[in-house]
């Protein structure tokens, strides 16, 4: 019942698109109901470049740096004792490192040092900094593959999408460079992100064969096995972007979409009740193709070289059907010479000529 209702509604809207005039009563022209429904949807596949900026600070923790490692430990307001739990990998999977012993091995009763004055060995130790002055930021980049399906209603569009991003992360540098903090090195380099989202958009401007649509994506990103999902508390992401579409035909367009993701995640540090908030907004420039499934099929007759949309009568059943004379990526009802192969081939070269041939 529901499906039928949707079918009727979509058929109603699809009627708007018919403009061709034929010497046949339009009611007698056969139109595939399946195609009529599918024609309301567009499928978009894009790829491109995503640049993610990671940033966090360690408020509420002590930051500790030895000659080889970096740790954090909760700042309870008390000075650190001589031994305390230390956590590492607070970027993606906070876990207990070996208990750090804050020992000065040049104190009593440790063995004396030979040539003690200005001995470089004296500087070997663990630096402790209050986390509220320590922050890290860094970039990751990725190549996404996005697949979206949307329903178009006039200038509005609503859709669903899936995304896969092959992500590479670099080391995160300290926000202050005067404290001798080294870069934070995540314990992985590559990750695969999976996301799903709802897409809402409005085509706000058309200019010749260009269209501009503002789009909002709301969704969830799965960051993969490198992040400990049991400690992860992820926000929904919002993506705002402008889809710039070059309509090569009624059914086929090239899409370039610059957009910006607003997102962050919190990661809890086990057994402390504390968590660290990481911001990871992403700037994306994605490009790809978008197709709308034609409501008409190509003429089934091989020898049919008619260029425009036209009527075709089935020789066996006598059924009259409107068919296309062009592949979907070409303009369907071209003016004379518009889809001409040579003109297409030399389109760039001839772009400034008034009369190319």
């Amino acid at each position: 019942m529901k499906l039928r209702l949707i079918l009727y509604i979509t058929l109603l809207f699809s009627a708007v698109a018919q403009a061709q005039e034929y010497p046949v009563d339009p009611d007698d022209i056969y139109r595939s109901p399946v195609r009529a429904v599918l024609n309301q949807f567009s499928i978009t596949v894009t790829t491109g470049y995503n640049s993610t900026k990671y940033s966090h600070n360690l408020d509420g923790f002590w930051f500790l740096q030895s000659t080889t490692d970096q740790y954090i430990t909760p700042n309870t307001g008390e000075p650190l004792g001589t031994s305390f739990p230390a956590y590492q990998n607070w970027f993606n999977n906070p876990s207990l490192a070996d208990t750090v012993e804050l020992t000065d091995i040049y104190d009593v009763p440790y063995a004396p040092l030979s040539s003690p004055v200005n001995n470089p060995a004296l500087s070997q130790g663990l630096d402790t900094l209050d986390g509220n002055v320590v922050g890290f930021e860094g970039r990751g980049w990725g190549v996404p593959i996005n697949l979206g399906v949307r329903y178009n209603y006039q200038k509005f569009r609503v859709g669903l999408g899936l995304g896969l991003e092959f992500h590479t992360i670099k080391s995160l540098s300290p926000t202050r460079d005067d404290l001798g903090i080294r870069n934070y090195e995540p314990n992985f380099k590559k990750a695969v992100f999976f996301s799903y989202y709802l897409n809402l958009g409005y085509r706000f401007y058309d200019f010749w064969d260009w269209s501009f649509a503002g789009e909002l994506e709301i969704g969830k990103q799965k960051m993969g096995k490198n992040w400990n999902s049991s400690l992860l508390n992820q926000s929904i992401f919002f993506n705002l972007g402008v889809s710039i579409e070059k309509n090569l035909s009624e059914y086929f367009r090239i899409v370039i979409k610059p957009s910006y993701d607003f997102k962050n995640y919190g990661i809890s540090v086990p057994e402390t009740g504390l968590s660290i908030k990481h911001k990871n907004p992403t700037f994306r420039v994605n490009f790809g193709v978008s197709i709308t499934i034609p409501e008409l099929r190509r003429s089934p007759m091989k020898s049919d070289h008619v260029q425009l949309k036209h009527l075709y009568t089935d020789p066996q059943t006598g059924r009259v059907e409107e068919v296309r004379g062009q592949p979907i990526w070409k303009k369907q009802n071209p003016k004379v010479g518009e889809n001409h192969r040579k003109l297409w081939r030399y389109k760039f070269k001839n772009r400034k000529k008034l009369n190319p041939y």
Binding site: G81, V108, Y110, A111, P112, P116, V117, L122
Partner: protein, 347 residues
Amino acid sequence: MISNTKIFHLPIALVVLLMLSCCGDTDEPVSDQDVADQATIEAYLAENDSLAEAHESGIYYVIVDTVPSGTQAAGNIMSIFYSAAIMGGSEIDNITKGEEDSVMLKQGVDAIYPVGLDIGLSLMKEGETFRFYIPSSLAYGDYSSSLIPENSIIVIEVEVAAIHNVADIIDDQHDQIEEYIEVQKLDSTIIDSVFNSTLNEWVHTDTTLFHPLDSVEYLISDQIYFKRQSEGTAGNMVIGGESATISYIGTTLSGDEFDRRPFATPLTYAFGTGEIIEGLDAGISVMERNEEALIIIPSHKAYGESVFVIPRFIKQDFVDLEIIPQYAAKVNPYEVVIFETTLQNNP
């Protein structure tokens, strides 16, 4: 084409020249300070101390009092009197002959701060008195405190009271320790007792001085003194490769506490690996767990020459600046140390 290449090379050569000249500049400030210090010292000396001689290291010295013969070699252990002051300014520290005992230090092994004094002492013989003018780079550099301004030039007048050898110091410290044991009545054999002729036996008159348990024992091979104060778990000793957990109070012979590890926060260390001072490790080796003992360690089994620092009261600043080790702020050169130690069960 060739001439073009030459023209192309010219800017590169200029850039290289510029880079070289700028790299030279980065070294300049250090020597600038040295040059300035040198000029200041020379101007001061011309007016006040014209007999001063320059040493290749950058220090200036005046022989105040000399002796005809004597010896000096790097690595000597010396006793000195001194007074140190900012050049043209206030005094920062002194050990005055007749008022205090001389202080011991070891010259030539990077165990003296400021470094300029170490260099200066290498020029001196037993009985001599020198006055040194030490530029800031060999003194405290850009360190500053309420007493020492940044880049100060230091004047130190030093008298070498004696030059010692290690055997003398060991003998001397043994005497000091024996005296300490006697004064403190650490030996249970030493009890304030009187012989009661009517009873025909010794009667203890003051048992409060009776120190419990064993007499002080001199462990010959380890050259430390050891006194058991309370019994531990029989047979439960630390063996090599194990870790030992200790709490202790560290004092000097004069009774000053320099370090403490409370029972609740003990120190756990790898026993017998040289991680801690030799004397303490040796003392632990004869202890049973839960035993309490007094371990008296002569300096050559503890912190030896440690670090001699002028001024004596701001050692911690130099520890924080990672110039001297922390133990040097606690233990003076050639100091006998006493550890009242409890060997605990491992946590």
